[in-house]
Subunit: 230 residues, 2 copies
Amino acid sequence: MTPPLGETIREHFERQILAGTLAPGARLPTEQQIMAQFGCSRMTVSKALTALATAGLIERRKRAGTFVARPRVHSMVLEVPDLAALVAARGQAYRYRLDQRDTVTSGEGHLAGHPALHVSGVHFADDRAMAVEDRLVSLAAVPDIAAADLNAEAPGTWLLHHVPWTEADSRITALGASPAEALLLGVEAGTPCLCVERRTWRGTDPITHVRQVFRGDSYELVAHFGPGAS
Amino acid sequence: MTPPLGETIREHFERQILAGTLAPGARLPTEQQIMAQFGCSRMTVSKALTALATAGLIERRKRAGTFVARPRVHSMVLEVPDLAALVAARGQAYRYRLDQRDTVTSGEGHLAGHPALHVSGVHFADDRAMAVEDRLVSLAAVPDIAAADLNAEAPGTWLLHHVPWTEADSRITALGASPAEALLLGVEAGTPCLCVERRTWRGTDPITHVRQVFRGDSYELVAHFGPGAS
DNA sequence: TAGTGGTCTAGACCACATG
DNA sequence: ATGTGGTCTAGACCACTAC
């Protein structure tokens, strides 16, 4: 029924900070004072404040004290859904068509020098082309993919289920469909499309490099920022 | 010189998880066993494992034990730079031109019913139009903006310095420039553009609603995912 | 029901940066 | 120099749940 004491302390200051009662730069009471105020041990206070510091709400400086962190960093949480799951959630039928599959060793990029599986194909929602995808997968890091049936399961979905990555970056741009892309998507060349280019690593080993071009009228990315969970 | 013991424990398991030695779903030793292994108290172990759980690397279940978390969440950290800072970082001259400024009370959207300042203008990098922006700012939540000189400082930059938000969401899409947008950007109508639409709140009070349309060839968004810092 | 994690205590020593 | 946070100990009781 009653929440843990440490949680109570954490929420006490979190509320004041979010409400602005404690403005950025303001000093919080010392651990000793908080101990006295809540009638608990120092360890409990420390854990509560450590959690707030981890969340980026406060900043702790030795000998100086604890302060409300300066205006927040401008970062948001970008959702990166699995396409199959996304389409299914929309109530549409998902399909992936594998168009090309070969083995290459590229000379540049983050997979440079690694033998890689090169696959390209198209993602469909209800038999309407949604995106074209061109992907390289390192055969050194993911040898099992050589035996995978990538027509039954899209490469991205297969990788998601078999090879959790530890590091990734993405570039998101807008571009006009090239003639080849336009043909695959069933639109006119130059039609605005959303392009997502992503590289992933496991530790320092490159895993995959993918470029997806989406019809601009059938896909959007969403991001969220907030104090609570995602 | 020697790192804190709790940190050592945390890194010990983090390394094993990222290296794959501890596969997703694998069970970690119990706290008692880790205590014995590292010769420390249970509190120290608990703090180390709690940090890993907060970071999402492990999952703790009572009576069952501690396990490596299943494949990672499909979310990444999206950087949302201030345009003025971004352009300056590129070594270009930044300028914002305010084109329109009036007061409205919209009937719909997340600012419905709130009197709001409506501003629209263009962001320039080296005197080349980069983006058009259309924005509503709640006058109830941000009365001070009525007196701000939004020609000297873009509305987004002004808000960034004066009103930290606590919650926000964004939609990212690709679209073709409308005739009006094309005129302002100096491109042909239909040119692919990246559109970012963002709503922000402070607590439950809506702050601002902004729609920015960027020339597709001069802007990109980047997102990152990784175990370390940003 | 027994073993697991969740939480808490009342101390302690230390490093450090600020006044 | 002093007070701050950083870290750690050796216990303890409790809630929960898988066995």
